[in-house]
Symmetry: C2
Subunit: 444 residues, 2 copies
């Protein structure tokens, strides 16, 4: 259960202000990514299930209300806000969302939240933090998996993630994006992701000799043994393994010139008849490094990717925002916009249509939610929560991963290139464009 205080103070002061001003009618906010990070031509929607769990559990405990009411910022807020409104507060709203695993582009609402204005406001911070991070990691994972050209990529980033909550979320999102497993045990248990691991240098160091360490490892973990070679000297360790007569399922290279070492070790293993021993590589890898290594023809069979994936090191934050698009005033719906330079928003609740022609996604259309369906196009936003309750059970991560794989497969190849050779066309409907223009004129 996440605390209801897991939000920014201004969400709570504004909620109190709305309540005091009687602004309790439904409002609609949309969560979207303003711009794609550099070198990205898509992101992968992720984090929805955790977001829904947060919304379902949202409550203010007695001690939280008492603490909050004592903050000086709330000195002029009538006590009924804390004693009545927040005491019985739950999230009773409606959420439409793009399913996890779907490729998404800048400006497309990933979530559309409709709830009484104070409630819709309070959840902003958590929704952004949950969905923004996982959407970023899932896309990074998809890029890395693409670069690995069918070789398994294992997520190894728990130790470098931004705390253990991030380790867990990163493992989840990385699996949706296509990783074959995770080293992070809590994620494996919670989400059913295959758990994977090797050995650390400390294993080797803990024994009097490297060969003793290898032999003991073989005794306990034969079928799952991934032998780390670089503690003292990679080629020396490979020689030791072979001379000891061990039959390692896999060896791990973690430092040095991975291409040259993989070739040398492959040749040594082959000469020793260990043709089934696979070579696994780790060590500050990302999609570019993997592409380079494979382009150089390195005989590497799988990759462990840590830091660069779990922190999305080249683009650690998305410009994820949550913007008001419609309020109700005396039961009248009013569309609203923001006109801040470089941060303008489109009014009205929206739907995103993905147009697929000949088995290939050709463009998305962002339209008002009540515009007519576009023939042959799929509506990406679907109901996720009604009256504060999920409308369907959580999907398994395997299902989400498969959805991601299939949805990526129909994108134009140029969109999946590591260097973002093209932008996927995202078109604003005529009605939305006109509404945006007239809203702008209204305020100038």
């Amino acid at each position: 259960m996440i605390s209801a205080l897991a939000t920014d103070l201004y969400e709570l002061t504004m909620a109190a202000g709305y309540w005091r001003a009687g602004l309790l009618e439904p409002a609609t906010f949309e969560l979207f990514i303003r711009r794609l990070p550099s070198r990205r031509s898509y992101l992968i929607a992720a984090g929805l299930d955790d977001a829904l769990e947060y919304l379902e559990g949202l409550r203010f405990s007695d001690s939280e209300r008492a603490w909050l009411g004592d903050l000086p910022q709330f000195a002029h807020i009538p006590r009924e806000f804390f004693d009545d409104y927040l005491r019985t507060f739950t999230f009773t709203g409606r959420v439409w969302a793009i399913p996890e695993g779907t490729p998404v582009f800048a400006g497309e609402p990933l979530l559309r939240v409709t709830a009484p204005l104070p409630a819709a406001q309070i959840v902003e911070t958590a929704l952004l933090a949950i969905v923004g991070f996982q959407t970023n990691v899932a896309a990074k994972a998809a890029r890395i998996v693409d670069a690995a050209q069918g070789r398994p990529v294992i997520e190894f980033g728990a130790r470098r993630a931004h705390g253990l909550g991030a380790s867990l979320a990163a493992a989840r999102a990385a699996f949706i994006g296509g990783c074959a497993g995770t080293s992070y045990v809590e994620a494996a248990r919670r989400y059913g992701i295959p758990a994977s691991g090797t050995m650390a240098h400390s294993w080797i160091q803990s024994f009097a000799t490297e060969v003793a360490a290898f032999r003991e490892f073989s005794r306990s973990f034969e079928a799952f043994g991934v032998y780390l070679l670089d503690t003292y000297d990679t080629i020396g360790a490979a020689t030791t393994l072979i001379e000891a007569g061990l039959k390692p399922p896999m060896v791990r290279l973690d430092s040095g010139d991975l291409v040259a070492l993989a070739r040398q070790v492959r040749a040594m293993l082959d000469r020793a008849g260990l043709r089934d021993t696979r070579i696994f590589a780790t060590g500050d890898l990302d999609e570019d490094r993997i592409a380079e290594i494979l382009a150089a023809g390195a005989p590497i069979d799988g990759f462990g990717v840590g830091t660069m994936l779990s922190t999305v090191a080249d683009a650690p934050a998305l410009s994820a925002v949550y913007k008001l698009v419609q309020v109700e005033r005396h039961h009248e719906r009013v569309d609203v916009v923001k006109l801040s330079p470089g941060k303008e928003t489109w009014p009205e609740p929206k739907q995103v249509w993905r147009v697929v022609e000949g088995g290939r996604a050709v463009r998305d259309v962002v339209a008002a939610e009540d515009e007519s369906p576009i023939p042959g196009a799929t509506a990406l936003l679907t109901p996720a929560m009604q009256d504060g309750r999920r409308v369907q059970p959580s999907s398994s991560l395997v299902t989400l991963q498969e959805h991601c794989r299939q949805s990526l497969a129909i994108l134009p190849p140029a969109i999946r290139a590591l260097d973002a050779e093209a932008a996927f066309p995202v078109v604003i409907s005529d009605r939305l464009a006109a509404a945006g223009l007239s809203a702008k004129e209204l305020h100038i």
Copy 2:
């Protein structure tokens, strides 16, 4: 309570393997940062208190043990490991640490952990994730606070952090590094950090007119009111505020040319007699942008920094590692090293001495822990945990922030420059250097 499964699988398979091999004697690991990120000349130790809380709470629940024992990787591990060893497992070790808020440099152990080998191994992943992230954020905060030249910096990054756990940890570390407050309410409540907030564009949009939104805000939050000006047009909003006769304590600029707008708004406020109204700026700020804005003479009185701080956007991961330096074999202590290219380690448990001359820190010396004290120098590593229990209560964050401020103040000014004009001298003691050399010879 953090799950004992909050670790990498290989920590648990190695622990099982050590247990099976009878390697239960104490081992010592050290946590350090291999290299400073680019443009950094120091980091700020942080996260220790959370790390100790994790160690104190470490247990395997029955269901965790059952789940773990069923993993195929453990098929050859005798059941006693799960049914006896893990059932009664607690962390009973000793931790020495550099206090939170202390500036630290590459290669210096921030934590030294001595515990039975399996236990010392299991905690690796969590210690790295907890301490690595907070150490990184605290340093980023210190840089930003330096750039603001005495103006308050508020941490606003919860929404862009890597999930809500990261939001909490970032707020904590940013305060240690010198931030004056946080927007993240849960962090304010848990750690006693001053909570701070403004208003969002949605507040303005929720009312029929901007002036109605300002008036209602004034009614509820007079003394704490920070009026956001850029929803439609910054200068127009400033005019509206003034013409409405409001007396805002503070206004917020969030987009556009902050320098030019701050000047214009300052002049408008002054002409209206609102000399006490302060100007607060936000919007993708970091230390460089703040330095630029202030160098241009912008009349800005405080800064809210979000994304760049809570994700440490320019250096989102430290090369934090946790390396075995000593094991015991049959009650004999044996120093160990790792020789992987570019990742070599120094053997032996260590102490870090900070030498201060004439009120100025002049160098650090990394020595073996049992070398004689260096006259006039301070030993940075001090006891934090003995037999699995803290040796002293947690310090308040205010105390840690003040310790940070004072410790930074005695660093050479060049070390605090945003562009890392110099590296702080960190010297390896003669004994350690000789031990490293002989260890290397032993393995070649």
